[in-house]
């Protein structure tokens, strides 16, 4: 079995296990059992509870699902935007191409962590946890497209000068028809970009959450759970606080393995 297949199987297993943990009767990521705060692993709480008495296994599972779903959605948006901009820049008038690449340069010059902080800090104070999650991943998508668009632009330019493309243009294929023909041929560029973006977005969300600027409580997130490590008193109580970090690293390794092999 090759590495990519193994990584896909393991990731699928983790996702299914997480979905079962979240969907089982009585499981709630927000329910607080005040009598069992920082409890050790038990039959009722297989990974113990956090400082507010919430089931750690359910929270980690929900964080995994939320983070993967958000990162995949953001990656779809990023790749679609990059495909549109890259193809337009390559096949449109030269001035449009120049302008599109200048916009890419401007976005690439803006350090994403600072931009994320700007937008996250300017969210309404009364923003709900769900909207904070949506905004976090939307902002990641909005900032992630320029690097991908540059790669698509280069790929589209190569296609534009290919013999079959010259032939198609010589036979009078219109621009819209050309773009429709080109997009499937850009898949070898788009697929790796899509797969690379997913772990990058998961890491970005975790870093942002660890700074207290990610997804709002009580929604579980990797970043929010990394904040638990700041509480040294909690670390002496239970070693299960390391569980989310370990699982996050495992998920990222699997995602990287899938992306690298693509």
């Amino acid at each position: 079995m090759n590495l990519k297949l193994l990584a896909k199987a393991l990731l699928a297993f983790l996702v299914i296990a997480a979905a079962i943990a979240v969907a089982r009767p009585g499981a709630s990521y927000a329910h607080q059992d005040r009598d069992s705060t920082l409890a050790a692993a038990s039959r009722q709480y297989p990974a113990g509870t956090d400082a507010l008495g919430r089931d750690r296994l359910v929270r980690v599972s929900a964080a995994l699902l939320l983070s993967l779903a958000g990162a995949i959605a953001a990656s779809v948006l990023t790749t679609a935007a990059a495909a549109g901009v890259g193809a337009l820049a390559a096949f449109g008038p030269e001035s449009i191409g120049w302008l599109a690449m200048l916009v890419c340069d401007v976005f690439l010059a803006l350090p994403w962590m600072f931009l994320l902080m700007i937008v996250r800090s300017a969210l309404p104070l009364s923003a709900s946890p769900a909207s904070s999650a949506a905004v976090t991943f939307l902002v990641l998508a909005a900032l992630g497209w320029p690097a991908c668009a540059r790669a698509v632009y280069k790929g589209a330019l190569n296609l534009k000068s290919a013999d079959w493309m010259l032939h198609a243009r010589a036979t009078g294929l219109r621009r819209t028809q050309l773009v429709r023909t080109v997009l499937p041929n850009l898949l070898p560029v788009l697929l790796p970009q899509f797969l690379i973006s997913i772990p990058a977005f998961v890491i970005a969300e975790a870093n942002l959450g660890a700074l207290g600027l990610g997804i709002g409580e009580p929604l579980p997130s990797w970043g929010g759970m990394l904040l638990e490590l700041d509480n040294s008193a909690m670390l002496f109580e239970t070693r299960w606080v390391y569980f989310p970090v370990a699982l996050l690293i495992a998920v990222l390794l699997l995602l990287e393995a899938i992306a690298v092999e693509a």
Binding site: L110, P111, S126, L211, D230
Partner: protein, 285 residues
């Protein structure tokens, strides 16, 4: 003449990008969904009339041209505007922290490059790519900066420089290993090795000069990565640098400070990016 034109074009493009960065950041701030909301509106001590007045005042002073003119005036004055949180010029907050951040970045970059170059030179010279080098790099790339910094802090081993250096070294190693491996397989190098030319002579005389352009691009990418890692590292290790200032400004919605920090970072990224790819263009001009 061609040379001068190329330099002028580079300068014009850099200036345009910096100006667009200022305008873009300001537009982003202005149209962020909660820009007009004020923390005082959540305070139960204020009545409805006061809250309405606060909202109206925010709307009056929140027009985009007003914001842009404030930002540009602040930059032209040289103080970057006034901090909402501390009520002092932004430059007074930023300047003392630049040295801290600069020192951290410089030490991290030097250590990271030394680590990555040594590791990639050894790993690329072997016949088959070894997991001994690849596995630690892959593992380091899968650990979020914040998690790595927190774990180092908890273990009481390693500081901000080590965390940043490990993160950068892992990224640089990946590219350097790939580039060097390709370089070692060049026919003229294979022949030189077969003839018994010493490895260090090959590295210094042939390999490093031939991958010079890739190294300069990678150096600029390292700076960009380091700037992104700066915030979690400075916050977790409690270093009074620019990243910590920006984080503090983000938590307290001090947008003039956050905006200035972003613009300084964008300037650094632009200059690093431009410096890495322009010399080649000038030479060929």
């Amino acid at each position: 003449m061609k040379h001068a034109l190329a330099v002028a074009r580079w300068l014009a493009r850099t200036t345009a990008i910096v100006l667009l960065v200022i305008v873009g950041s300001t537009v982003l701030v202005r149209f962020a969904p909660g820009y007009l909301s004020d923390a005082r509106e959540m305070d139960a001590h204020y009545g409805d009339t006061v809250r309405a007045e606060l909202s109206a005042e925010a709307a009056r002073s929140g027009s985009l041209p007003h914001l842009l003119s404030l930002e540009l005036r602040g930059w032209l004055r040289g103080d970057g505007g006034v901090s909402r949180q501390y009520g002092v010029p932004v430059s007074d907050l930023i300047l003392p922290r630049l040295a801290v951040t600069g020192g951290l970045m410089l030490r991290s970059l030097i250590l990271a490059w030394a680590l990555a170059l040594c590791a990639s030179l050894i790993s690329s010279a072997t016949r088959k790519p070894s997991m001994l080098w690849q596995a630690p790099a892959a593992l380091l790339l899968a650990v979020p900066t914040a998690a790595m910094a927190t774990l180092c802090l908890l273990a009481g081993y390693g500081g901000p420089v080590l965390v940043m250096a490990l993160l950068l070294a892992a990224r640089d190693f990946k590219f350097l290993h790939h580039t060097l491996r390709k370089a070692w397989l060049d026919p003229h190098l294979l022949q030189a090795r077969a003839q018994g030319v010493r490895t260090h002579r090959l590295i210094l005389g042939y390999i490093l000069p031939s991958i010079g352009p890739q190294l300069s691009v990678l150096a600029s990418l390292s700076i960009v990565t380091a700037l992104s890692a700066l915030v979690p590292v400075e916050v977790i290790f409690n270093m009074p640098g620019l990243g910590q200032l920006a984080w503090n400004a983000a938590l307290n919605r001090d947008l003039p400070v956050l905006l200035s920090a972003t613009i300084i970072m964008a300037l650094a990224v632009t200059l690093a990016g431009m410096a890495s790819d322009r010399p080649g263009e000038w030479r060929s001009a």
